[in-house]
Subunit: 333 residues, 2 copies
């Protein structure tokens, strides 16, 4: 049960501790025989570098945190964040770094900031979600680098790391697609007011409508979830009974909205065209299948991983990449 140390490896291999360290660090200028002896001893003893000692010496932990909203772990909204998560984990694996998921709650105090300050990990990726927006403030001046997936609504340092998709452009795409389909009586189901990506989608949507000379549409807000999408659609329908096009700014909300439209006797897309945002799995399994603005979620996660790794390792890198959004044409619009 007692872990072997570098001294044990050195003793078994018959070399100094320094030499053993060099071999295990991959240095090449070591006598081949010594090198082989060290490798052999390490394997035989089941040696693994003590991460605490390495870190204390000024090295890296070899672990990056992925901070996610705890609630999401068992809800359907998970489809968004799990895609990002998957990409991020793959990116970290590729960098030989251990991804470490930290569940965060909206009511848990400063556990997460404290953990980051304790130096156990080299950096963190935060997947922006409505439930954990409060973390943004607590982590603005974090001692370890943080990559935001989705821009938080706090003042960030100019060199902050933010990976985002082109939400503004996506909003424009949605407006243009509905206009191209001949729709003129439009409405938007926006996301939470406290989320910057949600606001960017609204801005893009409005700008494009203005440019096309279409009346500014009424806005209702949801929380990116299916249930909130249904509720928002009901409100929108009451306010604007003869609308013929809806931009629901998440696929889950689009799903909820379509259910409400259908229940109200509206056919989709013939009576009302609906466009979503995200392009998660549900978009292809719904009936009708969902026309939507695609965010490259897994890519966003992967880029977040690559970016934070570069920063941790002191390499130059674009700290605020914006990934392209594209329109995916299906049946609903």
């Amino acid at each position: 049960m007692t872990r072997p140390t570098l001294v044990d490896v050195a003793r078994v291999a018959g070399v100094s501790r320094a030499t053993a360290a060099r071999v295990l660090a991959g240095e090449t200028k070591v006598d081949a025989r010594m090198s082989a002896a060290v490798e052999h001893a390490a394997k035989e003893l089941g040696y693994e570098t003590n991460s605490a000692a390495r870190m204390l010496r000024g090295g890296r932990a070899g672990a990056i945190a992925l901070i996610v909203a705890f609630n999401e772990l068992d809800s359907l909204t998970g489809t968004f964040f799990t895609s990002v998560l998957k990409g991020a984990a793959k990116g970290l694996y590729a960098g030989e770094v251990q991804p470490v998921l930290l569940p965060a709650d909206h009511d848990e105090g400063d556990r997460i900031p404290r953990f980051l300050r304790s130096g156990a990990i080299d950096g963190a990726i935060i997947i922006l979600q409505h439930e954990i927006t409060h973390l943004a403030e607590a982590l603005v001046d974090s001692p370890v680098p943080i990559a935001w997936v989705g821009r938080p609504r706090v003042a960030l340092a100019p060199d902050a790391i933010v990976i985002d998709s082109d939400n503004y452009g996506g909003g424009r795409l949605a407006a243009r697609a509905l206009a191209d389909a001949g729709r003129r009586r439009l409405g938007i189901i926006a996301g939470p007011r406290d989320m910057e990506p949600a606001r960017d989608r609204i801005r893009g949507w409005r700008d494009e409508l203005a440019q096309l000379g279409i009346d500014p549409s009424p806005i209702v807000h949801g929380e990116f979830t299916l249930v909130s999408g249904s509720a928002a659609m009901a409100r929108l329908l009451k306010r604007y009974p003869d609308l013929d096009g809806v931009f629901a700014s998440s696929d889950l909300m689009a799903n909820g909205a379509i259910r409400v439209l259908q229940a109200a006797g509206r056919s989709v897309p013939s009576d009302v065209a609906v466009i979503g945002f995200d392009d998660v799995a549900i978009a292809t399994t719904m009936d009708p299948t969902l026309t939507t603005v695609r965010q490259p979620l897994e890519d966003m996660g992967r880029v977040a991983a690559e970016t934070i790794l570069a920063v941790v390792q002191g390499r130059e890198v674009d700290r605020q990449p914006i990934l392209t959004t594209t329109l995916v044409q299906r049946e609903s619009a």
Copy 2:
């Protein structure tokens, strides 16, 4: 960005490093004025104990790993593991320990065992799942204590930590319930052959049937997922077209099985009664709602957390608790 150290705190407070350490460790026999000065300095500097240094000194990391199958993160089967996860996380929070989720893959080599050997965490909880059964072997002689939720199919040390539910008793409950409902032509959709809990359910089922003098039923195997439940049901139906009762040993498989039965023109429960296992959310939203054997999943997670914490802290504790399973009567049987 440079983290303050204990020396900084001591200097600001005007005391020795030793005294500062004592105050922060919560020792009471310290002069009140010094104590206050230290507390103040620590807060002002945003001091947090360097976990690497503490660990190296022989202390604890203050973090426990939760090892979960990566694939599960975005599939519906997540309902089982997220319940356990939630309970475990709550239990760790209560113990002031940071839960750290490590996604594991079936093909990832020995990343996880190596991470555990690196000493970055104090212990681990593994939620047994089909996809990561291979980890069981790699972790049998782990240097840090491991709590298994669900007994793995490897030879464990007698003092191994295993949190399980009474799968055997649950199997008996299912058999008795179907028998009580007057069913005599029974079949079982069992779980994966390489999972001990799945095997325990079969044994309980068989023993109870034998005791009741009912014919041993045919067995088909699924993988605890909805799709595999459908496939298994189709096979079972072909083999035994006039069965009138099925024990599907996970709720998801029961869900899949019922769909197949209904598609085949059998009414549930009048033609065929179906009993599941787990009692996850879907059991109450299906049509008909599912009669099932309940495992207290969240409790299992919580008990796993409490048990590993006790072991890490050197406290005495029951290392192999078995939680009770109960029958939850709904519409399907």
